[in-house]
């Protein structure tokens, strides 16, 4: 699961659970059935589990692009180190 997938899965989990909770209370209260409310909420939790727990492919659409080692060698280290040194010297 990539970074954006993790963000997505957390939001999905919270939204789905809150929605199923709200639907369960509204339907349970209008039908005057505590049992209906619990069944709807249980269904919502199971659905959320199926959607968010497995590592589905659509959570992996933004893989990190690691640089190839050969690419890193083309850019010598000093260039990277120079910037912090400049800042340090200014102080």
């Amino acid at each position: 699961m990539d970074w954006q997938g993790q963000k997505l899965v957390e939001q999905l989990m919270q939204i789905l659970l809150v929605i199923s909770g709200v639907v369960a209370v509204v339907v349970g209260y209008t039908t005057e059935s505590f049992r209906t409310m619990m069944l709807i909420y249980a269904g919502g939790v199971v659905l959320t589990t199926l959607i968010t727990i497995p590592n589905w492919p659509f959570y992996n659409r933004h893989p990190l692009k690691w640089l190839d080692p050969s690419e890193a060698e083309k850019h010598p280290k000093p260039q990277v180190v120079v910037a912090p040194k400049k800042k340090f010297s200014k102080k």
Partner: protein, 167 residues
Amino acid sequence: MHSFGYRANALLTFAVTILAFICAIASFSDNFSNQTPSAQIQILNINWFQKQPHGNDEVSLTLNITADLQSLFTWNTKQVFAFVAAEYETSKNALNQVSLWDAIIPEKEHAKFWIQISNKYRFIDQGHNLRGKDFNLTLHWHVMPKTGKMFADKIVMSGYRLPDAYR
């Protein structure tokens, strides 16, 4: 959210939190129910009325209990416990309560009832104060919800009087 276990843990804790919320809402919704219970009790007969060998008065009654407790039932009610108590005052005790009959009402359909019975539990005084005694018959009930706080209430019916002599 990076691993299976982490996601399962997050899901479980959040799901249980919302479950607690739902139950709190269900319990809170009981406050808006309109409760209009009614009850009537008639004493059809004093079956017998005597002094026990060791001095306590005991009386046997035939009661006719009519009650409508249907309005106590909401979607969050598990059951209602109802009991009839004889309540009277003696010089020894400011309030004597003797349970005569009780019932557990599990469903709304059974909450409107009519029953004719002699007292299920013995009506015995602590002493011999029952002759000519004025007493109340009180229908108490305890509403047991599926979630939330149990609450109790009662209807007091007064104007009953025991006979002046043993029979």
